[in-house]
Amino acid sequence: MSDNQKRGARVTSKRVNSFVADIVTYLLIAVFSIFFLFPIYWTFITSIKVSADTFTSKFIPFIQFEPTLKGWIEQLQAAENYKALLNSTIIGLASAALATFLGSMAGYTLARFEFRRFFKNSDIISWFLSLRIMPPIALALPFYALMLYFGIIDTLPAVILIHTAFFMPYAVLVTRDAFKSLPKEFEESALVDGSSRIQIFFKIALPLAAPALVATYIIIFAFSWNEFLFAYVLTNKAAVTMPVYIAGTVTTVGVLFDVLSVRAILTILPPILLGFIIQRYLISGLTMGAVKG
């Protein structure tokens, strides 16, 4: 029996109230569930319809329409899908690694050391935080020009470089939080034993913060996977990511809704699955460490 229910038992009117509240809760929750699940469900059933059925409102497989895996089989055999998926994977893995590593260096420093001259720790933190408000388009133009200058437009490194820069502030603030919550004792005794700062960082601090670092890595991977503007500006053929590729889908496949749906699911599935894994760290990750989960 929950605390709520216990008190409800004391007074009858309260019991009636809580009964009504329960009904309202369930009703509203049902509405929210339908709202959030509808697009996902609809995309899924469209992906297993034959093309002609995609224009109908039939939504119960086997009963209203005969499901088919034709769209899935076709799309899973198309080499161009794999290329975009592979590009997205490489860019995600690399930029998440770079951002998490560089970010944890700053995060560790801000958690363990104190800057006093020129600028304080709080100034550096504010600087990283304020990068978050910059509109991406303001950076997209000059960054494009810079990549053009280096001749690496439409290559994976171009996208990796910008994703690392763009998502690093997350890593800085989240890992700072993680390092701050670790006990200092291990590091201090290692210092007394004669280990260098760099050894301590790599051999003690990083392993101790591993769960938070992995979560940060995964969140940045998902951010990078879903990022569109920079990838769209910087790539056109060889290095297209999945979002860029599917954005072009509309013009090439028109209203082949089964194809659209399969590709949409291929795009959303990896981040969703990863998101489930790091649920516990999600809130801290999304708010750059301001709110703990």
């Binding site: 369930y26 995309t43 224009f55 409102s57 388009i137 000059p142 860029v244 809704f257």
Partner: protein, 294 residues
């Protein structure tokens, strides 16, 4: 122990640690932005090497451009409509989910899904769901004998479609974070208030809401910042901010000016006006929110 802490403070190795990430951002973010300031005072065009200084022309031109005004208006309109709806719905959902009932944990996971859906993937799903000839919502409306909605081809409803899409994608963000905030309110506090005879509404106004303020401000900060850069749904689902320019946000317009019209100088100038606008809007909020970090 005190000695150890002091050593930490003094240790110069901290510069070695903070330098690589700071240099990285300086090189790939601050330097390009700085160079764009120079570009914004020239008539630089895409692909051409020659460009000359044109003074403040690029900064004056937008104020004489109805499409720039339009995109500022569209952007601010979306922020002022979308953010309150998302905060409101997210708050309601979090309060509901803070109650004890069966299946709560499963639902929490389900409500998390939209957070990981890339806006472009949602735009693609939207092609199907908002298809006007049938299939998605219109197919169901037809079956129910209701009038169909011109989700993407009519100006007013297209605006509504953008709002709906954003609310779908980002209400879960508000919900998850507010729920975390709710669950971090000490139970004793609420118990004590109840013993003192506080009603449900009093409880919410006097305890829950004040305790949630930091969380709500944080959420507000992130939602305003992200809605100000609204791009993907208008750009892809509505074909570049259409119909016409009804959903052409600042990011869409600057993108078009820079990468379709190839007016780099003008686009750079508009970017900086945009940056100033963003800073003005979220500056105060940023100042409040930074306290939760430092």
């Amino acid at each position: 122990m005190v000695k150890g802490v002091k050593a930490m403070v003094r240790d110069r190795v901290k510069f070695l640690f903070i330098l690589p990430p700071v240099l990285y951002i300086l090189t790939l973010v601050v330097f390009p932005l700085g160079s764009a300031i120079i570009t914004s005072f020239t008539n630089a065009r895409f692909g051409s090497v020659e460009s000359s200084f044109v003074g403040l022309r690029n900064y004056i031109a937008p104020f004489d451009d109805y499409r720039f005004y339009n995109s500022v208006y569209v952007t601010l309109f979306f922020v002022s409509v979308i953010v309150p709806i998302e905060i409101g719905l997210g708050l309601v959902l979090a309060l509901l989910m803070n109650r004890n009932f069966k299946g709560r944990n499963i639902l929490r996971v389900i409500f998390m899904i939209p957070l990981f859906v890339s806006p472009i993937a949602f735009a693609l799903m939207g092609q199907v769901i908002f298809y006007e000839g049938g299939g998605g919502i219109n197919g169901i409306l037809k079956d129910l004998g209701l009038p169909v909605v011109r989700w993407r081809s009519h100006p007013q409803t297209a605006i509504f479609t953008v709002v709906l899409a954003d609310v779908w994608m980002w209400t879960p963000f508000v919900f998850l974070i507010v729920l975390a905030g709710l669950q971090s309110i000490p139970k004793e506090l609420i118990e004590a208030a109840k013993v003192d005879g506080a009603s449900g509404i009093q409880l919410f106004r006097r305890i829950t809401l004040p305790m949630l303020t930091p969380v709500i401000l944080t959420v507000l900060f992130f939602r305003i910042v992200d809605t100000l850069r609204l791009f993907e749904i208008p750009f892809t689902l509505l074909g570049g901010g259409g119909p016409g320019i009804t959903t052409e946000t600042l990011t869409v317009y600057i993108y078009k000016a820079g990468f379709r019209g190839f007016f780099f100088g003008q686009a750079a100038a508009m970017s900086f006006i945009y940056l100033v606008l963003v800073s003005l809007i979220v500056g105060v909020l940023l100042y409040r929110v930074r306290k939760y970090y430092v």
